[in-house]
């Protein structure tokens, strides 16, 4: 059956890109599938709304944004060498569907329940779903091709690189969108300029040398958004509590605890029987928040407390944690917490930068797995960005590790076990860093 052009172009009003244009019936119908509509109920930034109250935007907005940027890139590529026009719809479909497998608060879910959204993405695209039905109009192998592009195993690397590389439609959308919705002043760069200077090559899109400064701006926003938004310590505190709720629910289920509000929608994650695709698609953030709300009334004191903390934003405090603390104080703190009746498995948590699914620009060395950003020079040679840009060189490969220790500070100021609590506070107060949940 293939694709048809819509009789009239459809547009979505978008605060980041102004308009999102849809002319292909295939894309229009994909947006209308129930699997894609589900993304309206999954926030793009997980728990960040507890720090930046505007950050309520969803994977639905973002997916449309990635589609729109990809559409604009392709428009610029049409007629240039290396670009294969027949790949247009494949590229657009992959851009639109690249996050389709994300679940609610997916990073924490994936850690605790050992699942991954990439696997679900493949299942949604190639399984018994409305998405696959729509994609199959383009041919029986089309859904698999879309899944391959998203999984980065499609042979045409240029197509893959538009959606997944160090300067791709995905990052260009989320940086701008996250900046807009959080209200921070970082994250802005001249995307129009970048699109104008992007050129298709065999394996990736490269940047015309004259556009280097626009790319510098993009790299800087990536760097600033990382520290100011993605790794914000208050957001991380909420993420820690969220993970601990899930960990507790799992432990209680496995121990045969009798829930007042049984975690029916989560059971597939605990039991031997694998979670079905339709069960997975039932889960979204509204469902999860309902459980958290109800579990505030559970008898288990840990689950009840953690849910109350999450729902009412009574987050953990934190201190910075360094090497000497790992060496000398970690096990002592654990002992002291146990002694005063606070379970350190749930209430003494180290969060590291490697726990975060965001990264910085890497210039790429011999053994690096990720292609760096390349500039195309006037003589047609390719040069890695940081070799030409002092700004990029200055922020590439620098220290970017960080560890914070999260704990319920108010419990250390209650009566009882004063000696142990004093010792805990003494250890924690010796650390540099904040003990307030600041914005």
């Amino acid at each position: 059956m293939g694709n048809r052009m819509l009789e009239e172009e459809k547009v979505f009003k978008d605060p980041v890109h102004r308009y999102i244009h849809v002319r292909d019936e295939l894309i229009w119908d994909l947006i209308g599938t129930k699997e894609f509509q589900r993304l309206r109920r999954i926030r793009q930034l997980g728990t960040t709304f507890l720090t930046f109250h505007g950050a309520e935007h969803t994977r639905f907005n973002h997916s449309l944004g990635v589609y729109e940027i990809t559409r604009r890139i392709i428009e610029k590529f049409e007629g240039r060498p290396h670009w294969v026009p027949e790949e247009r719809l494949l590229c657009l479909s992959a851009a639109l569907l690249h996050d389709i497998g994300h679940g609610p608060f997916s990073h924490s879910f994936e850690k605790v329940f050992q699942t991954d959204h990439e696997w679900w993405t493949r299942k949604i695209i190639t399984g018994d779903t409305e998405v696959r039905e729509v994609l199959s109009r383009m041919g029986d192998d089309f859904p698999q091709k879309v899944a391959d592009v998203i999984e980065k195993t499609y042979p045409n690397k240029l197509v893959v690189s538009l959606i997944s590389s160090q300067i791709d439609a995905d990052r260009m959308d989320y940086l701008q969108r996250d900046a807009f919705y959080t209200g921070v002043s970082y994250g802005h760069f001249d995307m129009e300029r970048i699109l104008r200077v992007m050129r298709p090559m065999e394996d990736q899109a490269v940047i015309k040398y004259t556009g280097m400064h626009a790319v510098e701006d993009y790299i800087m926003s990536r760097y600033q958004m990382y520290w100011q938004v993605y790794f914000h310590p208050v957001t991380r505190s909420a993420e820690v509590i969220l993970s601990k709720i899930l960990q507790r629910v799992k432990a209680l289920s496995e121990s045969g605890y009798s829930f007042r509000y049984p975690p029916v929608h989560f059971e597939g994650f605990f039991s031997e029987k694998p979670l079905s695709l339709s069960d997975y698609l039932e889960l979204d953030e509204s469902v999860v928040m309902y459980y958290f709300h109800m579990w505030q009334k559970e008898e288990d004191p840990i689950l009840k407390d953690l849910c109350e903390r999450f729902m009412n934003r009574r987050l953990f405090k934190y201190v910075e944690f360094h090497q000497e603390h790992f060496m000398n104080e970690w096990s002592r703190l654990e002992q002291l917490f146990r002694k005063i009746g606070i379970d350190p498995d749930y209430y003494l948590v180290i969060d590291s930068s490697s726990d975060l699914p965001y990264d910085f620009y890497r210039p790429g060395e011999e053994e690096e797995e990720r292609l760096p950003i390349h500039l195309i020079m006037p003589d047609n040679r390719l040069r890695e960005l940081s070799r030409e840009s002092d700004i990029v060189e200055a922020i590439s490969g620098k220290k970017r590790t960080d560890h914070k220790l999260y704990y319920p500070e108010e419990w250390l100021h209650t009566p009882g076990a004063e000696k142990e609590k004093r010792e805990i506070l003494h250890i924690l107060q010796a650390h540099p860093g904040k003990t307030e949940t600041e914005f």
Binding site: E110, K111, Q114, D116, E118, E151, K152, T153, P155, H322, Q323, F326, M327, W330, S331, V349, I350, D351, S352, S353, S354, D355, D359, E365, E366, E367, E368, E369, R370, L371, K399, R400, T401, H403
Partner: protein, 172 residues
């Protein structure tokens, strides 16, 4: 967080030294496929399965002084070697880690004896192992064209995978 760092340290302790970032990436991936309890998330990249999380974790371990990274200049490119430091060993010693050492030792030794290129092939094949063998071969020849792997290489890799699976896994 800490247990995941400790597992990488335990791996380095078993291995002694791992030469090359690519090799380290592939050892952890294959180890994970062979049921070592790693939790790093992998996706497909230039040289096959790659984990950004592992890269960051290694940077953290180096910055904490638990792992030493030595950069060696090879003909035209840099290579990185990793080993556990004394502080790292001391920390690991006091950390209550659940790690199947008896199982890990022969597995890690077998992996570390192989070249990064061979492990790249093995990990790529394992990445696609849900597919029929013929399709795995097709994937390897398409995605790894520049590496010029031969049918014999693939057979050797399958045999190697089988031999890893023969190592008895401890029953609880």
């Amino acid at each position: 967080m800490l247990p995941e760092h400790a597992k990488i340290m335990a791996l380095l302790q078993e291995a002694g030294e791992i030469v090359g970032r690519k090799k380290l990436q592939k050892i952890v991936y294959i180890g994970k496929k062979m049921k070592l309890p790693f939790q790093e998330k992998y996706t497909y990249h230039i040289y096959g399965p790659y984990s950004e999380e592992l890269t960051l974790r290694m940077e953290e371990l180096c910055s904490l002084g638990f792992v030493k990274e030595v950069k060696e200049q090879k003909a035209g490119y840099a290579q990185y070697c990793y080993h556990l430091t004394e502080n790292g060993a001391r920390f690991l010693d006091q950390f209550p880690l659940s790690w199947p050492a008896e199982y890990a030792r022969p597995l890690v030794t077998a992996l570390n004896e192989r070249s990064a290129k061979f492990l790249e092939l093995v990990s790529t094949m394992l990445y696609f192992e849900e597919l029929p063998k013929e399709e795995v071969k097709e994937k390897v020849f398409t995605l790894k064209k520049s590496q010029n792997f031969t049918e014999t290489d693939l057979e050797e890799a399958w045999d190697f995978i089988d031999s890893l699976r023969m190592i008895p896994f401890p029953v609880k």
